[in-house]
Symmetry: C2
Subunit: 353 residues, 2 copies
């Protein structure tokens, strides 16, 4: 197996629970695990899974089975996403798989949800993009912005969106600077909240959303973005940060090489040393104490990327209205106790936003 | 480990994909797998999982988080069900866990779904019971009866119900003779369709269901029940049988001892020989050819309980309007290709009923 660094094993172990809560079936994941013949083959196998479901979607659509077709397209898009989310070796292929993921998820959501809208927002000569969904049966729902992390994207969130939709909240999952299709043009930046403000400007005046109640919820580096957004964007009325770092660069050495390589690539390429310096500039120093809205910090005590005390507890304590849900046995993003924070976290936001 | 026959290993291997598609999280299943200290401990561990979620449900409910509380109660009830579904050693405990499962699922569905109704139907001096759910936004939805198999119950189906509800169909998951709470009084019987007819009699005249379109969908022995119901109950307009046997007793020897013991217990106790003779009387001989409505047979070529040719292909060929979805690599109930038949099967029924 062409995998001298053992990346396949690291990826399979760290991604399984995450893939499952985002909509991949365990049986598909198991079959993929048995087939992957090396790190280069990782995206082949995910691509094959995605194409399998696209083929099924075509058949379902030909039969007039819109819901099955939509679900299969979303599943395909999620598979394409996981095929490239940790891969850095081939920019052209990364771009191709990103576009296929974006297209499949959008096509699927369009079939599943007549209210689905893709929102493109001009931003600094380029654009940021959001997937907007509104719950059925609610005329002016409150809005939750779902913010992905370093190697994540809006395409990872269709399942998470359902936790909010089923509670009468609208969702806007966004790709900001450094993320997915937007990352082709705009790199990671400190002040992600400026892209959040641009999105809110575009939504301003809509009468099918209650824009007096807007929450930001983020995972991993998206947790950092959510807290920054709450600190600097006054329209945010509550925030949820799941395993966000206090400072991204602080724990560089404890990350597996696979993740360090990916983070370095996302941080603009160059050497790991440069990337690490850039990562250190992404910090909540001087930021967390400015958040004057209710804030929920979710963290896993067994997070292999970020230390629970130095990031989770520290963040919760620095937030003036911070609350901490610490899962002592939980991993990064607490994907192994998902039922205890995905739905309940949505309820917490609805109560506090 | 007090498990001379290796039942824990058999149960863990054969139940995993099934538990997952019915709503148990893999992370919970993994933790349980690591803790189970022997077959006697199997139900302890599932009971502990259920109680954990009931405790969370109480907290969520105290906070006013109805959706989270409902989901946690359903999850608890599903866990209680899996704790006793294969266990035969202690009737009092089986009964206790059955009642706890019934109560938790019903309490959860009541919180999640204002339209939920528990329907008790007088039947031969006792009763059969159904969980009725209607989709939002549809005044007169068609109805699908969900029929469990030998060691299954209506409490296993809340997730499956969602596949129908999201497509605008109502569901009635039922416990008939030999199943769950009804099994306390009524044993397994050939002519399960009589209990189906009793349920339909009670629904007759309702104007919130389209009773000109009623499908029966069953899993494992429930597949046999669904086909019998379509053969003898003229109100059934389409049928789906997932891994139903042609004759239950035919493959007795190939079943693992754990399953043989459970099936013998469900078939009324006594010796395995007696049970096997009773099981042979459950047959589609002379029945399948009477089904004059569209019928979908779903089967797994790697089913460890029932041979794909002798049960799946034979049944599909004998049904005048039979269609076969054979998953050559699929296990019993094809829980390892769930995305390819749960939703699409619901769409197939909607098209044909």
């Amino acid at each position: 197996m062409a995998d001298p660094r053992g990346d396949v094993g690291v990826a399979l172990a760290t991604m399984r629970a995450r893939c499952l809560i985002r909509g991949i079936d365990l049986a598909d994941y198991q079959r993929l695990s048995e087939k992957v013949a090396g790190w280069d083959d990782w995206w082949n196998q995910w691509t094959a899974m995605g194409e399998h479901y696209l083929g099924l979607a075509d058949r379902y659509q030909a039969a007039g089975w819109q819901t099955s077709a939509g679900a299969a397209r979303v599943r395909a898009g999620v598979a394409f996403h996981f095929g490239k989310s940790l891969a850095v070796q081939d920019d052209a292929r990364y771009r191709d798989l990103t576009v296929r993921s974006v297209d499949a998820v959008a096509a699927g959501l369009r079939l599943l949800d007549p209210a689905f809208e893709r929102i493109e927002v001009p931003f600094e000569g380029h654009k940021v993009v959001g997937n907007l969904r509104r719950p059925r049966g609610t005329a002016r729902p409150p809005l939750v912005l779902l913010l992905p992390g370093t190697e994540s994207v809006k395409e990872e969130f269709p399942k998470w969106e359902e936790d909010f939709l089923s509670r009468g909240m609208a969702t806007l999952s966004m790709d900001g600077p450094g993320q997915g299709e937007v990352g082709f043009e705009l790199g990671i930046r400190l002040d992600y909240e400026r892209s959040v403000s641009a999105v809110l400007d575009v939504l301003d005046g809509r009468d099918d959303l209650d824009l007096t109640r807007i929450a930001a919820a983020g995972v991993s580096l998206g947790g950092y973005y959510a807290i920054r957004s709450a600190a600097f964007e006054p329209r945010i009325t509550a925030v949820l940060a799941n395993c966000g770092p206090w400072t991204l660069g602080e724990e560089w050495e404890r990350m597996p090489p696979l993740y360090r390589a990916k983070y370095a690539w996302n941080l603009g390429g160059g050497s790991e040393k440069t990337a690490r310096e850039r990562a250190k500039s992404l910090t909540l120093d001087g930021v967390a104490e400015r958040v004057d809205v209710p804030a929920l910090v979710i963290f896993g005590g067994k997070d292999v990327l970020l230390d629970g005390d130095r990031h989770g507890r520290r963040t919760a304590q620095a937030l003036p209205k911070g609350e901490l849900w610490m899962f002592e046995q939980g991993n990064h993003a607490v994907t192994d106790f998902a039922a205890e924070h995905l739905g309940p976290g949505a309820d917490w936001l609805l109560t506090h936003m």
